[in-house]
Subunit: 316 residues, 6 copies
Amino acid sequence: MEKDRHTQETSCRRDAGRSSSFRAHLPEIVDQIVRSCENRQCCHHTAYEPIPSRESVIEIVEGLRDVIFPGYFNRNRMDPVNLKYMLGQSVSGLYDMLAEQICRSIRHDCFRYEKPCMKCEEQGQEIALALFRSVPDIQAMLSADVAAAYEGDPAAASEDEIIFSYPGIFAIMVYRVAHRLFEFEVPLLPRIMTEYAHSITGIDIHPGAEIGTRFVIDHGTGVVIGETTVIGHNVRVYQGVTLGALSLPKDAGERLRGKKRHPTIEDDVIIYSGATILGGDTVIGRRCVIGGNVWLTASIPPDTRVLMEPPKLVYR
Amino acid sequence: MEKDRHTQETSCRRDAGRSSSFRAHLPEIVDQIVRSCENRQCCHHTAYEPIPSRESVIEIVEGLRDVIFPGYFNRNRMDPVNLKYMLGQSVSGLYDMLAEQICRSIRHDCFRYEKPCMKCEEQGQEIALALFRSVPDIQAMLSADVAAAYEGDPAAASEDEIIFSYPGIFAIMVYRVAHRLFEFEVPLLPRIMTEYAHSITGIDIHPGAEIGTRFVIDHGTGVVIGETTVIGHNVRVYQGVTLGALSLPKDAGERLRGKKRHPTIEDDVIIYSGATILGGDTVIGRRCVIGGNVWLTASIPPDTRVLMEPPKLVYR
Amino acid sequence: MEKDRHTQETSCRRDAGRSSSFRAHLPEIVDQIVRSCENRQCCHHTAYEPIPSRESVIEIVEGLRDVIFPGYFNRNRMDPVNLKYMLGQSVSGLYDMLAEQICRSIRHDCFRYEKPCMKCEEQGQEIALALFRSVPDIQAMLSADVAAAYEGDPAAASEDEIIFSYPGIFAIMVYRVAHRLFEFEVPLLPRIMTEYAHSITGIDIHPGAEIGTRFVIDHGTGVVIGETTVIGHNVRVYQGVTLGALSLPKDAGERLRGKKRHPTIEDDVIIYSGATILGGDTVIGRRCVIGGNVWLTASIPPDTRVLMEPPKLVYR
Amino acid sequence: MEKDRHTQETSCRRDAGRSSSFRAHLPEIVDQIVRSCENRQCCHHTAYEPIPSRESVIEIVEGLRDVIFPGYFNRNRMDPVNLKYMLGQSVSGLYDMLAEQICRSIRHDCFRYEKPCMKCEEQGQEIALALFRSVPDIQAMLSADVAAAYEGDPAAASEDEIIFSYPGIFAIMVYRVAHRLFEFEVPLLPRIMTEYAHSITGIDIHPGAEIGTRFVIDHGTGVVIGETTVIGHNVRVYQGVTLGALSLPKDAGERLRGKKRHPTIEDDVIIYSGATILGGDTVIGRRCVIGGNVWLTASIPPDTRVLMEPPKLVYR
Amino acid sequence: MEKDRHTQETSCRRDAGRSSSFRAHLPEIVDQIVRSCENRQCCHHTAYEPIPSRESVIEIVEGLRDVIFPGYFNRNRMDPVNLKYMLGQSVSGLYDMLAEQICRSIRHDCFRYEKPCMKCEEQGQEIALALFRSVPDIQAMLSADVAAAYEGDPAAASEDEIIFSYPGIFAIMVYRVAHRLFEFEVPLLPRIMTEYAHSITGIDIHPGAEIGTRFVIDHGTGVVIGETTVIGHNVRVYQGVTLGALSLPKDAGERLRGKKRHPTIEDDVIIYSGATILGGDTVIGRRCVIGGNVWLTASIPPDTRVLMEPPKLVYR
Amino acid sequence: MEKDRHTQETSCRRDAGRSSSFRAHLPEIVDQIVRSCENRQCCHHTAYEPIPSRESVIEIVEGLRDVIFPGYFNRNRMDPVNLKYMLGQSVSGLYDMLAEQICRSIRHDCFRYEKPCMKCEEQGQEIALALFRSVPDIQAMLSADVAAAYEGDPAAASEDEIIFSYPGIFAIMVYRVAHRLFEFEVPLLPRIMTEYAHSITGIDIHPGAEIGTRFVIDHGTGVVIGETTVIGHNVRVYQGVTLGALSLPKDAGERLRGKKRHPTIEDDVIIYSGATILGGDTVIGRRCVIGGNVWLTASIPPDTRVLMEPPKLVYR
């Protein structure tokens, strides 16, 4: 009986969840982390200004998808009658969010690097407006991208299937939006957008890249398209393709920022899976076909087909 | 004083958030997007019929995982006593959702391509029922897949660890479900399912592929398994492996739809990371081992081990 | 009129949603799945004990990111004044969650493998405490990782951009936390953590790997770093790099568990995209540069640059 | 040591959460509840038809509030430019929901009482359409209600304050909507609506009551307005006022269903808090003032002021 | 120009959101609240033990409603086939939650009042089990309550309408459950339950009251039924009825705790709106009818009809 | 067969959900509502400025409850060690929200009534700061309220029960906070707060009332305390008590705004359920006891007990 009570008390005390040891150390833990932040220059962000919100950026990207491909992903039923209302309502809300995130991105840079005033609020509003005015252009480009994907892919049962489920088209859509913001020199935001698409699709397109119409990425996982890449029209790229920079010195960051470091791919090129094309001076000429796993650091003339030599069989 | 008020007014007006410029342009922006939709054939979906909902499909996939691997991912505690109730309740709810999404997928095709009536509701109900009747079979196959993964992977501490955390097993589970729906000729839905798994795991298995028992994908990122691939029993595949089609002409979409374009992998084959095997006539014989990064477009006889030749060192 | 009513009734009955066929089969479906679970040894988890919750683990990982990089991802505004409070509150809540999940992981093993008592609750509390006491160390390492990433990447506009959006830094953060738990021999949990990062980033680092400071992963999709890999300081790795085990016999799981099976990478090494380095005895010496797509199964002396031979062009 | 382990095991077993006793009884508990349902005629609802969803009805009511009082409760910013879009989008979504809930309500009656076909779907659509066409009328009435509330209440600082926070105006709004549906003879739904308002405000207006313009309820808690009440224009009612039926025989339900049982209140009447007015033949004439706590079961001629006699003081 | 920049900077600084004044005072504010808590005996609850969670209690109440009235409020469709599964799954989950909340309530008392061990966990499990075993009894009582409500209320179109929307039946349901827990001497929990119903319905029934079958509360707002009230079978009560205690001395709390302080209502009594009946010795005999607004502090013999005298009209 | 297809088509068309009639009328419906808004002066709020958000106000009220009664309602465990952190974090977040809502409330008035600049942002920050600096005072008052409630209520098992579940203490808490904001002349916000409490508790306290310490409201449903009421210390009030204004002329709103219209209750008074006390000149002297249902419009000297005369029994 007495024993029973003792057991119970023990269990009750144990159940308290936080060991006395934790309670004793908590203030010290907190102080150490605070001090650790104070001692570091980077990697904490305890400023008086609100910073861009990754969550809001994701909401913007998803909302833009509903505007660009209306009817596919909306929760509410869309028909020709309420299309206009849906668009008006979505654009209004997205404009507010986008203007604020652009403003925060500019202000963040402004404060952190002690730049002169960049009129962040005005810029946020103007750039957001400009983006929405270009939505029909973006839609036209994406329609061409979808059509090209359908034409070249026997596994696609319909264009709807591509829009519903192809990671490539999602990555390209996010790139096309982020690229506009990049052109307006919005900091941070374009990259947060494309890295969101990267995490969903495994396709990593830097918003600085320049990409023509009818661009297709098939399967897509592992594709990397670097910041200064230039891609023509009607280009098709498969999974695992890298359009990257040549081997960089360890201090490349500072020295090469803004230089052309990634290749140029001309019109009508196909690049098969796993191929790697590197270097700012590398140009892949029109109508070239680059075979799978090929590794290139030099230019290729037009109409060339570059293939790996077949491997040798080793019997064991 | 007077000045103060002025400043404040400025700030208040500025805070209004939406620039007058935006307000002036909104109706025009909306009208342009509407017109842009009207002018395009594809890429908008403003129909009178509800279309498949990507969100519901994801909910179905996650729900099926709880039914197939009961107790691992459920929020509520599962024990031998309430297993039956959980299953009954989950299957009821999932059946309703699945029947509706199948119906919508069929009806979508029916309307868009002006097919004759396909009895979408009846088919939705029948196919959903058939799928749930085959759950024990799917479970048996997945148990074998898990066992095979555990036997061959020294890094796996337990079968539970594999079920909890291995992307390969999730991708295979989704494939095995989607493949059943593909066999019932359900449009759209199977691909939305496998592309969901693709976005989570980086593993892209087309629901049309045919894959035997004890299938293992290790690490998995970048794996691509094409629509007409045939894979035997007891096959193991590593990250970055492509089982794909040979280089396609630009208009391949229409011409090759439904043709065998992807390879056949016989029983007991291992394919190491980065290997690429292409072509509908390519057959990898039983017990072959395909080394990492190998690129194959022709058949390999049984019991062969194909390796890359070792690279030459270049000192600089 | 009469006809109208008939039609309506039909439609009403049809709308019931669940076909009578489904209702007739539901009990049988449930019983078969129950029996299917009873017959299998693995792949169901209907135990009396709560098991680790994948959802909680994800919440812990996201919460730790807020503690480690304060101010970047928090929903609430962070400034130097409330930093301390945010940390104290977050650490308290995360400690409770982490202690419980550690406890569940240990207990799960304990019950499933009928081990003697492992004092799971006490261990859960002690290990969680130890982890939080090491947060400043983890922060210091991650600051160095961020600095190294910035120095070597011309595409990075700022260190903030890296923290906000680079998948590599997220994967390394999760690894550094999971590795601590791995060192404390916590089962299941560390792997669930790193596989969560894998699904977000496409980067698969086993929590058992040992990785030095200033570690950089660029782009990252497809990177695999095996359980017994050892990586020195100042190493930079690109997308698609595999640090793996040599070809394994089919029953490798049991025989090789715990053995050194993955390579050693010494300080200051750079490994370009798509390279594969395999084997527990393989050592890549200091200051080596391993070129893209290179496939290595043997050691390389320090200061070596290993490149693929350039492919031969095949004109067609 | 041995003891320690024993304690731990006990605690682990105890922690399992569900006593073996519960597990032993669960099937029996379930079977008994199932049998209990089978034995009762009412109080369970396990039909093949979906029934009205209380959650959806609440969503409809809240959505209608946003349409009727645009800009007060919407999450998104509303301005003269996007008003139209917000309305179009909201009305589209609410129409779908309302049509479905009306359909379900009609069908529910149809099936439960084995009525002939009532064309539930068509009726759902027609009535929902009719309701939305009458929104401007409802708005006009509510504007008059708000104006009357403001004119008579010195505690109201503005009409906005009334719309934002007065329970009376919310209850009247819900009544005005529900009354329309009641006039269309929609079963169930109108009452679920007004009882939702009742739970929020403590004001219980039966949807069958007929109430003129410029109706004001101040404070409101405890107000009851019965099904066959008729209220003229410009009437003001305070908290705790009952407009009810005379004492009913125990079997009143069946006998009096549909009879006029509640009073008639003519134009310009004020009824102070706690007053009770009962009976279908009771008429309160124009411009009457009914004092607080007064209890009336007979008609009062116009222009009468009815007061309680002052209480006698009892000193103790 | 220069001026512009200045303005902008001002606005940027101002936008920081938290005034420097707030930042300067935050630590002091926090310390003062902490000290304020330390100085007070009550009104803070910073214990090492988890306390009952109001949120969980609400979830339990809503979940029990789904079990007791199956099919009315469930999100998922309920039909005769899946009723059993829904019940099994719901009861399992609710049992876990209820057992934990009972345990916490008992332990809370145990610790706060330094009672000897009360075996809180065992009691939690036993009482939760007992409650679920009595669900069929509770259902039978509530079916009788619903039937009585329907028989006496001409405004009720169906029993379904009563279950869907009548606040009285919700308050009685919660009371009948809470009363069981009160009988098991569970502290805190029963009252949190009935006060939740109070906040939804305006009906305040103390869980200690004893109430017979076929109990009806119509409209209900303002009803108060005190702790030691005894109510027979077939009693009907209207809005604003108080069954309370006589005027209490200021220190009544301690002296009268547990004494019979509230009236006894015998079978077949009707009490109209606003009536007040006070005192532990007051007995309202069988078949009495108590008129609206009547105020009683003494017993009434059976078969009596007690009415207010009609008020005198005062013309002004 | 042919017939079958026809039927199906019908059903498919019917399923489209939105009748063609609705689609035809939607633009007209929208335009009419827009015009209806344009024609009315009040009842729409389509301004360029954000207005107070009812949702945020509710979040603020719930958050303040966690700060004022720490540990009772928080989701996370609270113990003496993390109390400080929780408070710091909560106060920081609530300050931001409160400052913004105060600012919006002031600006709303400013714009709508075209007042001169009221420095809304500065005021928002200053008033929010002042409120948080007075939290210890508010806590002290509420502790006294809780203690008084416990002393006088035999049904209260503990002070914790009062805090957890008594609606009176919630309403008083919200009043005490809102009253501070009212004293700072914040428009709109205080009333939205107290009306939120009104909807939860049925207790309607105007934020303008002045109420002393040790105030108790028992049961509470239907209590109304008007704007210019003055209540001394140690007053106890029961359900259904009205402290209101005398009968108002129809145009009272404008003429009496801000005048003393509600009674004064001196120290140590008890007012039983249903009593009504009206008029700005009515003073209830110290230590009075006002009986249930009493109706008073004139002052009562101290130490008086006012009771209703007992009703006459009418036998029928």
